[in-house]
Amino acid sequence: MADTVITGLGVFAPTGIGAEEHWTAVLDGKSGIGHITRFDASGYPVVLAGEVPGFDAREHVPGRLIPQTDTWTHLALAAAEAALADSGADPKSLPEYEMAVVTSSSSGGTAFGQGEMERLYQKGPSWVGAYQSIAWFYAATTGQISIQHGMRGPCGVICAEQAGGLDVVAQARRLLRTQSRLVVTGGTDSAMCPYGLVAQMANGLMSTSDDPARAYVPFDADARGYVPGEGGAILIAERAEGAEGRGYGAILGHASGFDQSERTGRPPVLAATIRRALDDAGLNPSGVDVVFADAAGTPELDRIEAEALAAVFGPRGVPVTAPKTLTGRLYGGGAPLDVATALLALRDGVIPHTAGTERLARGMEIDLVLGQPRQQPLSTALVVARGYGGFTAALVLGRGDRA
């Protein structure tokens, strides 16, 4: 039942600032991945990342909040402002307890935390600022958005790495079905500091290539891991009733699952999770027009995803794409950005291609859109996301009525 819709998109991503700038870059296959500039990464195995180009917090965030919050929160505050403006909703006209905030976060405020830790070690405890108590914390972004916009309804944060970005949209739908009328959701992440990078590298899944065009090529025979990135998207979710003519798309179905330890011998839950999301949406597999893949970028994880998609939709049964090759994986911000991209694809009837990937690895029975965007009428999209350690989520979206 399409009772909830996304009415506003606020994008701050390596592919650009603003949903339309991002969308143009995606269709042009213009990558935001390059050598890390935020700090000297030349001594680390991972040297590439997707950084948000030209982001200056002073242009987008109230001056008071800049020293109190981390870059990841700056990006989200800026994106929330843009998403609210885009939504056409008027928060001032809504009761404060009927507006909620639920964002995803994976890294927290690592750069802020690193700065304070350096002061602790180099100068002593009295040099650690009071804002360290809140700036690093995963819920900081949700809290600051809530305070900034006077939204006092149910607030929360979901930390499920990349999968959390879909789970928050489902939580937004849950809240809209009960006491809330508007939910600020989606998320961002930014861990562009040595501490942040090293913490990510521990998963052993990152690309050590220094070629921005070929470092992150999911499903390719040369897949060698993923490139990290920063930014994401903040989304405004509202009840369909009252949002006529403003919806980018409807939230049709969701499911999440969690992989068991490999030692149990149980198969990955991805295919079952997709099927449950389709059930929730009331759709058969044939009712899905396009899949935005998780696209982990390692041979093993790519194989698991391709097998799950082939199992649910049949071999090459549905067009699949992964525009995230242009941004890198954005953790808490990744899936919300995929949701934004999917909604723009539904709006315009065009499937963006997976830039970078050239030759599918053996056994990948998927119809991956390569080379250039594919024009075709679209009514529904499935977004898939997995997070390190077993987090799995799937979200089904339907085309909106936005004028």
Partner: protein, 86 residues
């Protein structure tokens, strides 16, 4: 004898938590509550940290809570500075 003036406090306020839009710290803020000036309890803890760093005056958390206006803060910090020299 060292003393701590309202201007010293203003400087620390600016450095510690910044100034909220619409607030003029240069106006007569002596008896305006910190909360009205946009400084919440966390901003005051940050202020206390900077006072300790710059003037060597430790302000226990419980005393920070009681510091509701710039006048009370300036008087408190001066008492500590004087006490430290006796």
């Amino acid at each position: 004898m060292s003393t701590f003036s309202l201007d010293d406090l203003r400087e620390i306020m600016r450095q510690s938590a910044g100034v909220e839009a619409g607030v003029d710290l240069d106006a007569d803020i002596t008896d305006i509550e910190f909360i009205e000036l946009g400084y919440d309890s966390l901003a005051l803890l940050e202020l206390a940290i900077q006072v300790k760093r710059k003037y060597g005056v430790s302000i226990p958390d419980d005393d920070v809570v009681d510091m509701t206006t710039p006048r009370i803060a300036v008087e408190y910090i001066n008492r500590q500075l004087v006490g430290a020299e006796v």
